[in-house]
Amino acid sequence: MFDDVPFITIRDIAKQFGATRALDGVSLDLRRGEVHGILGENGAGKSTLNKVLAGVLVPDTGTVEIDGENIQLGRPKQSRAAGLAMAYQELSAPPNITVAEKLFLPKLPVRLGIVSQRKLYSAAQEVLTAWGKPGIDARALIASLNLADRQHVEIIAAMATEPRLLILDEPTASLPDTTWLFDRIRELVARGTSVIYISHKLAEIRAICDRGTVLRNGRVVKQFDPKTADERELVEYMIGRSLNQAFPDKPDRAEHQAPLVTVTDLSIAGKVHHLSMTICPGEIVGVAALEGQGQKSLFYGLAGFVKADTGSITVGSGSTPARKNFSLVPEDRKTEGLFLTLTAQFNLTISELRRCSPLGTISSRKEKKIAQGAALAVNLPSPFMTRDIQDLSGGNQQKVLLGRVVLSAPKCLLLFDPTRGVDAATKVEIYHMTREFAQQGGAVLIYSTEIPELVGLCDRAYTMYGGRINGEFGGETLTENALMAGALGHGEKVSAS
């Protein structure tokens, strides 16, 4: 209903971080009231783009104009003044403030510099009701909210400013369903707001967006009309190679081998309820689930970092201590995996120091040899060994983590969203390494936010909902729709053939 003269023009935004070019001349046009979908894999440059637009990151080159008026990038104040609002994927709300404060930050309603409590809470409650979430208490601390509500608050905080350009980065990661979000977007759009909708879920983009763009390795590779675009073709643009040859071919199903890992009736601190599963040697088993369904407690429980209330975990013959048999690649590289200011070699050998220090003293010769071995296994170029790990790209960092895990030669490898924030080429390498590990008789349990990845890589997959397994799929039954349905909670208990 608005004229189709471009309202927002983004001209060749580029941003380089050390070795990698995160954004390589991205240009986009948006009309008033348009919902523009940006599709791309993890690591394609989506979040970097919106942090540049939000003024939190300074681009090397590039300009942005809203309604003809140029915005000075690199100043959050300018971007906000120009009518731009952001809902970040990693939920930008400090845990110790209240919902009301988050809704009005950074412009808290003040009288003579003082924020009047009464006014703040009543205004906030009005906003919450206006945007369809009266259930959330404006006085509650962010930390006391569940993930879904926290995502609601994040989105409402952005929408409530009636922005001219609203950017949503993976908005449905923790939402149970999309109806609430899509209704609000349609209301805003009717009032002339343009929306950039960033996601790696094609179904959502098809449902809400007018136009779409595919980003890969920081470059615009495809403009498409979401309604008519062919899914398989889009996915190939996303991952830049034909879908099937991305994943190593699966072995034919080894029938009735004795399971290497058996988990019986496991429950953990209100997160995992009476869960049982098995993994056979040489098998890659996947777990599909929405955010916060207890998969994290499951993986960290198996790795021995979370104490189980009930149930047992047995590996091979006896139930030997968890740490020896399981090795975990944690979810968030930067805070849980890596020692950023230390060298790649340090990060590689930290878990296996015992083998490098025969008589209590670490011999640099032995350590170098072991590190080289691991680097070879994950084909990490050896000159990287002496560089600080923070100087390496996301992909190489993930390889170092994998190298560390391979070094400790576990019986079962636990991968928690291993390809998050990794460039496409490295993803393929990771898939092949995982398959090689399995072929050598090891068991692999992998959780991923990307359903196609699970379908392509795993021999079998479970879906989890509310801390319970509600579906097991293998062979022909292992399809994206089946996994998505299971993950969304309405898959019935299907046993694999």
Binding site: A269, F305, V306, K307
Partner: protein, 416 residues
Amino acid sequence: MRIRKRKGLLIAASFVTAASLVLAGCSGGSTNTGNGSKGKIYLNLSYSGNNWQDQAANLAMSVAESPEVQANYSVQKVISGSDPQKQISDIQSMIASGAKLIVFYPISPTALNPVIKQGCDAGVTFVAYDGTVEEPCAYNVSYITGARADNPEQAFFGAQTAQGLVDLLGGQGKIMLNRGVAGTSTDIVHYDSAKAVFDQYPGIQIVTEYYGNWDSSVSQQETAKALAAHPDIDGVWSELGEDGVVKALQAAGMKVPVTGEDTNYFRKMLSQGWPGVSSGSPPASGGIAMKVGLKILADGPNSVPHDIEINLPYVTTDTAKACPGSEFVDGCNFFTNAADQFVTEVFDPALLPESSYTAAMQVAPFDKLVPLPDMSSYAQPEWRRIYTRGSCDAGWKEGPVTTGQVPPGLDGCVQA
């Protein structure tokens, strides 16, 4: 994880509470809380943990716990530490608990004035030993402006030891100064009076000054550093910690005159021919201050002068003499088997004759207290008042003192 963590912290918490109960139990007995009827006397230390403080406190307690005092007074020792707020708080508590007499080592000459004033108004007697306080209503018992027993004109530790060093060097040579704790008035009094003497001899050149913090170990380290820069020095003037100075000189294989205070090791070296002068602050002042306090309680506030000067000890290489046993007999002034850092001036023939090595090492109540002689001869002359009270008496004004005091020309009070 949650369960393991809680169990761990329970252990920490129980450990802490258990320790506190143990302490409460065993500490109850160690100090005798005064009962209602007897008057209350408090001995209040600020610094603690060095030999001087420990010996002075033992002598004071030996006096206070003698039978004749225990008959009508109970005494309690309070250690306040080096935080002025803490000493103020403790003195307030003593006043509140109805103290009659507070014998104390002030952390600062000025910080306690308001609280002492409050105490005096409430009828409490304050007697400060070694360190002095400017509040007029308190009594000062200190050697800082004291004169030598044999010659009342030769006053000020700093000046006399400086003069001694000059005489040993024949008025010529390079010297170093080892001062005490920076920022304290005691250090300033010693330093200024010594400087006044050195400035009168052009041949004497002060090559450097450093701070030994009245501590043997720090003095030894700082002296070693200074010797590296000035291996050609001819003498060292030092405050407390001079045994560290001697050890540093010995390590550097040098034997030059040293003047300092009265540690056992220094006097032992003097007696073995090391050139120098041992003067300095006598821990006996603790015992003397307690006796002065008791006299005030017995004979009233004017029975003793408000400003009491203890004689300045003065031991040279020839007069240093080892005591045979643990008693002070015929002029002996140190003990061969005592620890290096033992402070020797625990005996004053006139004011604390009951004193002994054992009473200084641990509290040994004196069975018979020798009454104090007429204290008027120990009154501080008016012209030295400014050093301890920060200002001159009525009718006097600040000015150089030219007569009646050696060396002439030191700052002081003169008739207005």
